[in-house]
């Protein structure tokens, strides 16, 4: 269980720092650092076991039928990355404490950073690939929030959007690739993928999946031509850049390459695509970086370049190239994070990051200068710093390009050229910032706070320690990680400072000397400071595509939406009719053979319903008449239900019909009593045409279905209703037991509608100036009758409820009946009087009903069965004997209360709107 704890501890840090920020920046930093430190300590405790080659695997099934498990693995590769994520994360916490300005919301920054940390740890420690993709998308999402942290800066918002669109689009490609491979492998567990390696690779869809996964990798790791989001993301606060854009987020891509290497290594498509993209990115990024004037811009392109280098190494596909790639991942994370922190300090103290204005900072901040120079030398690949070691290995591997006929043998030369540019921008960073004369400093640099320099110092020390004593520091970790990537093919090797006078050493020397020369030439002959960067084409293309998409969407919306509901409905109905008509023309139309004998009485009932419906259309301008005619249709429907063996439906329809008609009449008191004839003849014709076509379609469809036989799953419920549900009324058993969850949802929707109606009428409850029926018009007969009927109706409702499990009835019906009884009382006595006498809030009734129904569901869980499983038992009651009891009854009671509460709440909401001075009066 230790792995999930390691992953989730940063989330605790996120919550803690949000809570602690009221007590100041330092408290927030401690609140973030302590859980992260604990997580780091837990992880460190696992180091010895992982180093001897053990793997921690945890699997907890989540959705096993989809292959989605909460499974984690800790191996050498994961350990190396997790240490980087947590270690540099701790340093960034300290750094951000001093970097952020007092007006910044530091709790939010910490919370997002820690949340990001959890997502990142999830990526590197996932065993299940679907889980990995989820964490992958989480990093895209949180990086969006982090890059756009300063929401008031337009560039930050733009950069955040760009990063999000590019990386999450790549994430979708990755998901598609993972699904393809998972489909072939029959599992999403990494171990299963590795053991099914040959099956997966020989499958025809493997190359498609590979390209999709590589798309995810290249977008995340900012490879050409998807690199443009990374420079745009430099609008983020510098702690975010130091964390996301040096050590973590952008490394997720190359991590995935390493993670999947056992599966994809040795594939020609993989080798060609990865080496080409990697080498292009390496040289291109290094070249562009030389010409950037913004410190962070230079670092961003340098990061792109180094990620290209790592990608290239992974693609070279030899055991040692993978070792070099992993080694360089760690080295780059340390020196680049340190450089970002130095850039942040310089920006913080000088007020600018523009190298055309900076200069001579050696005098003002010598300590920062030393730290930055150490890191920059590591970046350039100078001996005695860690960057040198991995770069030497990189050169050595680049000389082995023989198995990839890339660039016709020019590979080593191109690599050396790229390394020269790397040296050139490193030298520029050192010279322009610390030694050159200042040109236009916004203010005299102040002294940076001591603890702001500590994180950069720690990283600088690591750079030197690894550079001088590689065997005693990083070698075991790199070795363990490489074993997980390369497997048993890993040859004996040694990371060493001195290999003798070899060709890679010569290449290093050429790069160092050439790089320095390039910088000198650019300063003297070209005047680098006057260089105007070309328009960033990638960013520009993206922006154009983005704006274009928005414009097209806008035009489309404007063209379709003119704000007229009638038009939308007509379009929608036309579309539905079109969709429904398609199969008719496709497959022809024929009725079946079933024929039920005609009943003369049915003809009368159904005939009057049709006449009433047509009448409602004809008379719809006279609204009261239309309401009554609609009521006739409803009553006919109720009789139809009864005739076609649906007693529950018949009773429910009857009760609802009464309540609906009352409600409509009540609402009419506040609405015009008649509808003006305002539709043009053209519109009337159009609507009539749509109506006739739609009606004909429904009639034809019904006829075709009704005259055919039926295969239903009804037998299951009829057979099991008594033994499993304990009730003879299968409809009721279906509602409260078999489909209880559905019913629970339905009464929830019902309650929402009622509360919505209640809220809509909130302002009108006392202000509306309408009297429905003046008190003197009350009929005494009706009042008396309503009073007399009330107890009987309540009795009927209780009876319906109690017998509902075995006879027509149940919670829905009983609730409606009871509501109708009260509504009659409203009509007789007046709403206000009734409410005053009742002294009851229907919202409480409604809520209690929902709560009861929900709690019943948990009874099932307590008994170890799924939510809302019916629990039944026989209870011995004195005098009455054995009584069958079931939790479904309590559920039905909840339904009853919710329905009663809902109905009364809606009627009350509409009925209560009235003129203030009127003391009494019937509501409906």
């Amino acid at each position: 269980m230790i792995l999930p704890i390691i992953i989730l501890l940063p989330l605790l840090a996120a919550a803690a720092s949000l809570l602690a920020q009221r007590r100041g920046f330092t408290a927030a930093a401690w609140a973030a650092a302590l859980p992260v430190g604990a997580s780091f300590a837990l992880l460190a405790g696992e180091i010895p076991e992982v180093l001897v080659g053990e793997r921690l695997l945890i699997c907890r099934p989540w959705l096993p039928q989809f292959g989605f498990n909460l499974s984690f693995r800790l191996d050498g590769l994961g350990l190396l990355f997790a240490l980087l994520i947590l270690g540099i994360g701790l340093l960034v916490i300290l750094y951000a404490r001093y970097y952020m300005a007092p007006e910044d919301h530091i709790g939010r920054l910490y919370a997002l950073l820690m949340f990001f940390m959890t997502a990142m740890l999830g990526i590197v420690l996932s065993e299940n690939m679907l889980l990995l993709v989820v964490f992958w998308e989480l990093t895209s999402l949180i990086s969006f929030l982090l890059i756009g942290f300063w929401t008031h800066i337009p560039l930050a918002r733009q950069g955040a959007r760009m990063a999000f669109v590019v990386t999450s689009a790549g994430g979708l490609a990755l998901l598609a690739g993972v699904l393809l491979i998972g489909n072939v492998a029959g599992s999403f567990e990494l171990s299963a993928w590795f053991s099914a390696r040959d099956t997966i690779r020989s499958h025809p869809s493997f190359n498609v999946a590979l390209v999709l996964i590589l798309l995810g990798v290249f977008t995340k790791s900012a490879q050409f031509p998807f690199h443009f989001w990374l420079p745009a993301a430099m609008a983020a606060p510098t702690p975010v850049s130091a964390y996301l854009h040096s050590a973590t987020m952008v490394k997720a891509g190359v991590f995935l390459l390493a993670r999947l290497y056992p599966l994809v290594g040795g594939n020609l498509v993989y080798e060609y695509v990865t080496t080409t993209v990697g080498l292009t990115t390496f040289v291109f990024g290094a070249y562009v970086a030389v010409f950037r004037h913004d410190l962070k811009g230079l670092l961003a392109y340098s990061t792109i370049s180094h990620l290209g280098l790592i990608t290239f190494l992974m693609g070279l596909d030899t055991p040692m190239s993978s070792v070099a790639a992993i080694f360089h991942i760690g080295n780059h994370a340390t020196f680049k994070a340190s450089l970002f922190m130095a850039a942040g300090i310089i920006d913080h103290e000088c007020g600018t990051r523009d190298m055309r204005r900076l200069g001579g900072l050696w005098r003002h901040m010598p300590q920062t200068a030393v730290l930055a120079i150490v890191a920059a030398l590591a970046m350039a690949g100078v001996p005695l710093f860690n960057g040198f070691l991995s770069k030497e290995m990189f050169f050595a591997e680049a000389l082995n390009l023989s198995h990839l006929p890339l660039l016709g043998g020019m590979g080593p030369a191109v690599v050396t050229l790229g390394a020269m540019f790397s040296v050139a921008y490193s030298v520029r960073f050192i010279h322009d910032v610390f030694f050159d004369e200042p040109h236009d400093l916004p203010r005299t640099p102040s002294k940076p706070p001591r603890y702001m320099k500590v994180p950069a110092a720690v990283l600088a020390v690591v750079c030197i320690a690894v550079g001088v004593w590689p065997v005693h520091t990083i070698a075991p970790l790199v070795n363990a990680a490489s074993k997980d990537v390369v497997g048993d093919a890993l040859p004996a090797y040694e990371i060493a400072l001195w290999h003798g006078f070899t060709l890679p050493l010569v290449m290093s020397a050429i790069a160092l000397a050439g790089g320095a020369l390039v910088y000198w030439l650019l300063r003297r002959r070209y005047d680098l400071h006057l260089h105007v960067p070309v328009r960033y084409t990638g960013r520009l293309l993206f922006q154009q595509a983005f704006d274009g998409a928005i414009a097209v969407a806008g035009r489309l919306t404007k063209g379709m939406e003119n704000g007229s509901l009638q038009r939308y409905l007509a379009l929608m109905f036309s579309a539905i009719i079109g969709l429904g008509a398609w199969p008719f023309f496709q497959h022809g139309f024929a009725a079946g053979a079933t024929a039920t004998p005609m009943m003369p009485l049915a003809l009368v009932v159904w005939g009057s319903a049709m006449a009433a419906a047509l009448g409602a259309v004809w008379f719809h301008h006279a609204r009261v008449v239309a309401v009554i005619l609609i009521g006739v249709v409803g009553l006919a429907l109720s009789i139809t239900f009864a005739y076609f063996s649906a007693p529950d439906l018949a009773l429910t329809q009857l009760a609802v019909e009464v309540a609906t008609t009352l409600l409509m009449l009540a609402a009419l008191a506040f609405l015009p009593q008649s509808t003006a004839g305002e539709s043009s003849p053209l519109r009337k014709t159009r609507d009539a045409l749509l109506a006739v076509i739609g009606g004909t379609g429904v009639a034809a469809l019904s006829w075709a279905v009704l005259t055919r036989g039926q295969e239903s799953i009804a037998w299951y419920f009829l057979e099991h209703s008594l033994p499993l549900g304990g009730g003879g009324n299968v409809v009721n058993v279906l509602l409260v037991d078999f489909r209880g969850f559905d019913t629970f949802g339905e009464i929830t929707v019902l309650s929402i509608a009622a509360v919505g109606a209640w809220i809509l009428m909130a302002d009108l409850r006392a202000a509306q100036s309408v009297v429905i029926r003046p008190p003197e018009a009350d009929g005494i007969m009706f009042t008396v009758a309503a009073r007399l009927l009330l107890p009987f109706t309540v009795l009927v409702a209780v009876h319906l409820f109690l017998r509902g499990h075995n006879q027509p009835g149940g919670g829905f019906l009983a609730g409606l009946m009871m509501a109708v009884a009260f509504v009659m009382l409203y009509m007789g006595e007046g709403l206000r009087e009734t409410l005053v006498r009742l002294r009851f809030d229907f919202r409480i009734l409604l809520g209690a009903g929902l709560l009861l129904a929900g709690l019943t569901g948990f009874a099932g869980i307590l008994a170890g069965t799924p939510f809302l499983t019916n629990i039944s038992w026989h209870q011995h009651v004195p005098l009455l004997g054995e009584i069958p009891l079931a939790s479904a009854m309590a559920f039905d009671l909840g339904v009853f209360m919710a329905v009663l509460g809902t109905t009364l709440l809606i009627v009350t909401a509409i009925g209560q709107a009235r003129r203030k001075p009127s003391p009494t009066g019937g509501a409906a």
Partner: protein, 118 residues
């Protein structure tokens, strides 16, 4: 019988469609009610027309009707009451707030006839 039910369903649906396409909110509510009737009967009819049976288990009875559409329709009836209530409240509120009961929330510009009523 099947023919009659089918024709009835068609007519009620057509009437509902026509009313839903009207410009004032009240006829729209009426139209929705009609369409609800048609849809509910349609769903019930998917279990076929079986007169004289019931979905209630009894001894010595062999033939039953399909209970599943009935369970679906029962909740549908009650929910449609809830939505009708909500729509009516919305109509009253809208009329109170905008002075119009047109479905678009404002009187049409060209034919700006007052809608009448209080």
């Amino acid at each position: 019988m099947e023919v009659m039910v089918a024709i009835g369903l068609g007519i009620v649906t057509a009437c509902g469609l026509y009313l839903v396409l009207r410009g004032r909110i009240f006829p729209v509510v009426l139209g929705l009610s009609l369409m609800t009737y048609a849809v509910n009967l349609f769903i019930l009819a998917m279990g076929r027309l079986v007169p004289g049976a019931s979905p209630i288990i009894m001894r010595e009875v062999a033939e039953y009707t399909d209970p599943i559409p009935q369970a679906l329709v029962l909740t549908a009836i009650v929910i449609s009451f809830g939505t009708t209530g909500f729509l009516l409240a919305l109509a009253v509120r809208m009329r109170h707030q905008t002075g119009s009961d047109h479905v678009d929330g404002a009187e049409p510009e060209a034919a700006g006839r007052p809608a009448g009523g209080p």
